[in-house]
């Protein structure tokens, strides 16, 4: 079929018309760009290949979960913030832990000094976890926990808090991030070398598929890869490839793909280049569905259906003229909604500088509520489906992802690729390129390299009370003093013994947690067997 020659574009401004990832954009898209076989490539929401959404009814059936990431100080401060957010209409909890907790150190470890409670909440033991969820019924509220290397330990804490509340594990709903591959690639929070870390991920997938049918044991993430500076195409490709790697490991373990795949979930960035993000989410769903069915042999639709949480891009926020960030977050949130996200966190306008204040996080939550209840965006599924531009961009995102899959496969898969620094180098190059574009004003950041002002007004930001570190150390001392040291020792020995075999580590971790072994003690016990990890960085 002959296509019409494209019209010569009108005189254009001297800028590069590309997405922020450098993907060129045409002046116009039309019928000649339409997907070759829309019936099978685009389809309907809720049906293979799920390009238009994982559910037929989308937001008419159920609004996305409004789930603001929160955590700072000790569990008392964070519990208060949890209640504030629930009272203001958020519909799910999301927990930010502090750097020591993320890295497997107790609050009294020398490396924790100055870091306790700064980037998130300090959790050292089950006692802390109980305080974190004080007054929050785990049977009724779903919780997401952003933690990776020590994820099995935090899951154990959560299960035990549920148990104390009389809620059995199989009733608990939520997500734990667990996605260790993206740590080595981008977020850089590790405790163990790659293989033992992967064993723990598979242990969690196996244990949860048996004991926690309402829980997502992994949140396969691109957010952090993107924040580290990757392009949207790299975010898409590396995230999905990480996901395939977990699927392969679980299958190697002997699990049936249809037993665990329905509970895998994803987490993408919602960045400022509006249409690129929407195309990214649609391509992600289509690729995942195809690969799960054709490569991994999934038979159930639930195994092929990609569901994701999105967070608006932290790196897009500016310290200059912070109120502009409300606009950025709004556009990014809208892109996530038009892209069909199941769960959403919106950043607060003061977050280029610090963790959000109550007032700022209220605006962030209201942003979601205004999109949900005033804008009309939720009224129909995949509103941009059929747009020549969006469908073409979706196709191109998909093609770019497959290019990366081929390159990673040539290296032997994602784990060898990580060992050879492939994704890390791609990210560093993309980050550098982007920064050059900003430095040279080929890419404008409003308020930073254009539309600036000399006199920036003061913004009130959240200060973490430095005495909270001492308070947390006291809590930890009380835990240590109040427990049966013999039982703790025995449980840690058992954990070490089990770690040296190939048995599932969730049960011994739960028992150690129950005895009030601390997170740091459990991590140290496993490091005795597994070793630790140091990266060889490229820049």
């Amino acid at each position: 079929m002959a296509t019409e020659p494209r019209q010569k574009p009108p005189m254009e401004r001297e800028v590069e018309f590309s997405t922020m990832s450098g993907h060129p954009i045409e002046p116009l898209y039309g019928p000649e760009d339409a997907t070759a076989d829309p019936g099978s490539e685009i389809g309907r929401p809720g049906s293979y290949p799920f390009t238009r959404g994982p559910y037929e009814s989308m937001y008419r059936g159920r609004m996305w979960t409004m789930r603001q990431f929160a955590g700072f100080g000790t569990v008392e401060e964070t519990n208060e913030r949890f209640h504030y957010l629930l009272d203001h209409g958020q519909t799910g909890l999301s927990t930010a832990f502090d750097m020591p907790t993320l890295m497997g150190y107790d609050s009294d470890h020398p490396r924790s000094h100055g870091e306790v409670g700064r980037e998130g909440v300090a959790v050292d033991s089950l006692d802390d976890m109980e305080g974190l969820f004080e007054g929050i019924p785990l049977a009724a509220v779903s919780t997401s926990m952003t933690i990776n290397a020590p994820a099995a330990i935090l899951l154990a804490f959560y299960v035990l808090v549920g148990e104390k509340q009389g809620v059995p594990a199989e009733k608990l709903a939520g997500t734990i991030q667990t996605d260790i591959l993206k740590e080595y690639i981008a977020q850089k929070e590790w405790c163990f070398p790659i293989e033992p870390a992967m064993r723990l991920v598979t242990d969690m997938i196996e244990w949860c598929s048996d004991r926690m049918p309402r829980w997502h044991p992994v949140s396969i993430s691109g957010y952090h890869i993107r924040e580290a500076g990757s392009t949207a195409q790299q975010e898409l490709a590396f995230t999905l490839k990480d996901g395939f790697t977990y699927v392969e490991r679980a299958i190697e373990r002997g699990l049936d793909v249809d037993d665990f795949a329905p509970r895998l979930s994803f987490f993408f960035n919602a960045h400022i280049d509006f249409f690129e993000e929407i195309a990214k989410y649609r391509a992600a769903r289509r690729i995942w569905a195809r690969e799960m069915r054709d490569t991994y042999g999934a038979k159930r639709e639930e195994s092929m259906r990609l569901r994701f949480h999105a967070q608006t891009a932290g790196v897009s926020l500016t310290a200059q003229q912070p109120l502009n960030n409300v606009v950025r977050t709004s556009l990014e949130a809208l892109a996530a909604v038009l892209g069909g996200t199941q769960s959403l966190h919106t950043n607060s306008f003061d977050e280029a500088l610090a963790l959000p204040t109550e007032d700022a996080v209220q605006v962030a939550l209201r942003t979601q509520q205004i999109i949900a209840f005033e804008s009309g965006a939720p009224n129909t599924a995949d509103p941009l489906g059929g747009s020549w531009f969006v469908e073409k961009l979706t196709d191109e995102m998909e093609a770019a992802a497959y290019d990366y899959f081929a390159r990673i496969d040539e290296l032997g898969g994602m784990v060898p690729a990580i060992r050879s620094n492939f994704p890390q180098r791609e990210i560093a190059d993309a980050a550098f390129e982007y920064q050059r574009a900003v430095d040279e004003r080929r890419r404008i950041v409003v308020g930073v390299n254009d539309f600036t002002r000399e006199d920036e007004p003061e913004t009130q930001i959240l200060r973490i009370d430095p005495t909270l570190e001492g308070k947390q150390r006291d809590r930890l001392a009380a835990t240590r003093a109040g427990r049966d040291t013999g039982a703790v020792e025995a449980s840690l020995q058992e954990l070490k013994r089990a770690a040296a075999t190939d048995q599932n580590l969730m049960p011994p971790i739960i028992e150690a947690a129950r005895a009030r072994a601390t997170e740091g003690e459990m991590v140290a016990a496993m490091q005795d067997i597994f070793g630790t990890y140091t990266e060889s960085p490229v820049f």
Binding site: R111, A319, A354, P466
Partner: protein, 145 residues
């Protein structure tokens, strides 16, 4: 007789503490290297002791501390303190990261020469180090005849 070729400015780019945000540090490390400086990137999770040791061992002219974890008011003073204890008083110390405005005067009083907050341009940082680190070798004796 021509003066000896100027010695390259040696910069340690360091990530103190548990902070894993290395995007900015890597960009700066690369920009400094592209600008003709010798760059030693320490990698992540460095204690103040390790950073000071690297600065001394590498005979660095400058150290850039990159920190986005909120722990800067503990870690930066500790690095400065250890360098002073070791008798190192001529190394340019700069800090980059999510540093609230109200912490900047305190850091400067401690001897931090420059603090680069979000939105700082790469060229600005490179120039700052070039101008302020070079000054440290102005009074050097001849390197060769």
């Amino acid at each position: 007789m021509e003066a000896a070729t100027a010695r390259k400015i040696r910069v340690v780019v360091a990530k103190p503490g548990l902070d894993g945000h290395d995007r900015g540090a890597k960009i700066i490390a690369r920009a400094l290297r592209d600008a003709g400086m010798e760059v030693i990137y320490t990698g992540l999770h460095q204690t103040p002791e390790q950073i000071a040791e690297t600065v001394i061992q590498e005979d660095a002219d400058a150290v850039g501390l990159s920190i986005l974890s909120g722990a800067h008011m503990t870690l930066v003073p500790r690095v400065v303190e250890i360098l002073a204890e070791q008798g190192v008083d001529d190394v340019l110390v700069t800090v980059g990261g999510t540093i609230p405005a109200e912490d900047i005067p305190t850091l400067k009083e401690l001897g931090v020469a420059g603090v680069f907050t979000p939105g700082s341009g790469t060229d600005e940082i490179v120039e700052f180090i070039r101008e302020n680190a070079a000054a440290r070798h102005e009074g050097d004796g001849e390197h060769s005849q």
